[in-house]
Amino acid sequence: MQKVMLERAKALLSDGTVRAVLAWEKGDFAYDTTPAVFNSAERLEKGFVYSPFCGANLSKYLIKETQKEGKILVFLKPCDTYSFNQLVSEHRIKRENVYVVGVECKGMLDIEKIREKGVTSLISASWEGEQVRLVTADGEILADSSELMQERCLCCKSKKHVAYDELLGEEGEVLDSNRFDEVARLEAMSAKERFEFWRGELSRCIRCNACRNVCPACSCEKCIFDNPDSGVQNKAAADPFEENLFHVIRAFHVAGRCTDCGECSRVCPEHIPLHLLNRKFIKDINELYGEFQAGETELPREPLTEYKADDVEPGVVYERGAE
């Protein structure tokens, strides 16, 4: 796959269709690939990579890149295309300045889970059917992929690209995902248990703002959390309340626009399951206002910029869930 992608990128770069390529670049280790803009075939040859560690969603970088003149090529995995569509419908990405190449994705690996297995000095990883071949300095290991995949990939919502100019690899289907199971499990707890659960998770927050910076839906040029007069600006939380406030408001600001790409949880250095907050909003929207998947189509009416005269009253919250 990586070879096919590299050849295609070099071809499009040399015939002048695109001025640059937005893709993943090799890091010092197999698992620390980073998004990068390649502007020459030599650089691509040297740095380009597409491995089971290329989890980063590249759509947000297009906001800046498409402001420049000329087309840019971008490789998008199925879940990334949802964010892409969403950003196009919000007029954040100039569609005419992008050449989207959809690439197939078999799920991305979680380095933490690999480490937990006791695997050290990893050199590379690759797919082998349903299994993963891990090449380490001490030899090769063939492992079950379901044990090593990221949480968001284990409950993948779609293998189908919703936007592309060209497709490499096989096109998949929208999947019947069980991604709301964990939310439902929390909902069934008592309020006190839920409070304890979130205290335990959110109290680890160090307010690094990585979740905000990586989120494709969090693309405001001026963020409320950057306002020093707001009382909620970026700083180490002085109080447990601030962690709650930051994460509730952040999730609320992307409610109805969040495509559930799971980037927030991937980048969190404290491994807080932030996707659960977003999924709670998505689940509520689905249940109360009808099924909605952000980014599925261009220019949809979003649940929070729309209303119906017979919407449920806020009191409905008191009747739902436990306690």
Partner: protein, 151 residues
């Protein structure tokens, strides 16, 4: 600014309630309750807003942060919004916000949305009496407070 509540003796718990009232309906409804000499607890602190949809979810959370024990939002009845549709948007937003607060384990009774028109002084007083007693029963807001507000 902190929500001050110096009324009442020290032993009896008096909740601090923040009420966001729409200028075009419930704020006038509160006026009517007053001119009709209807009683509602002095623990309710009214904040006038131009429309119920002016209430940002952040306002609700910051009210709790600064020491409120309950937050109620009063707006025009659906269909009667002065700006045609503001309360419809507010309804969706607050439903989702309250559901999220519940998800985080905050007691459900601390938040409420009521539709009170300018002619419903009695409903305003009833609503506030009921809400204050609900929040009083829940007690102090411990799960969603900023410890710096403690004296």
């Amino acid at each position: 600014m902190q929500v001050n509540n110096s009324t009442g003796s020290k032993d009896v718990f008096r909740p601090k309630i923040v009420a966001f009232c729409c200028n075009w309906c419930s704020y006038a409804g509160a006026d009517l309750a007053g001119t009709n000499r209807l009683n509602y607890p002095a623990d309710v602190k009214i904040i006038r807003v131009p429309c119920s949809c002016r209430v940002n979810p952040l306002f609700v959370l910051q009210a709790f942060q600064r020491g409120a024990d309950g937050v109620i939002i009063c707006g025009c009845h659906p269909g009667d919004c002065h700006y045609t549709s503001g309360n419809y948007y507010a309804r969706r937003r607050m439903t989702l916000l309250f559901s999220m607060l519940d998800f985080m384990g905050i007691e459900k009774g601390r938040t409420r949305v009521e539709w009170v028109s300018a002619a419903e002084g009695a409903k305003f007083a009833d609503t506030m009496n009921d809400f204050v007693s609900t929040v009083t029963a829940l007690g102090e807001n411990r799960r969603l407070e900023d410890l710096r507000c403690r004296k």
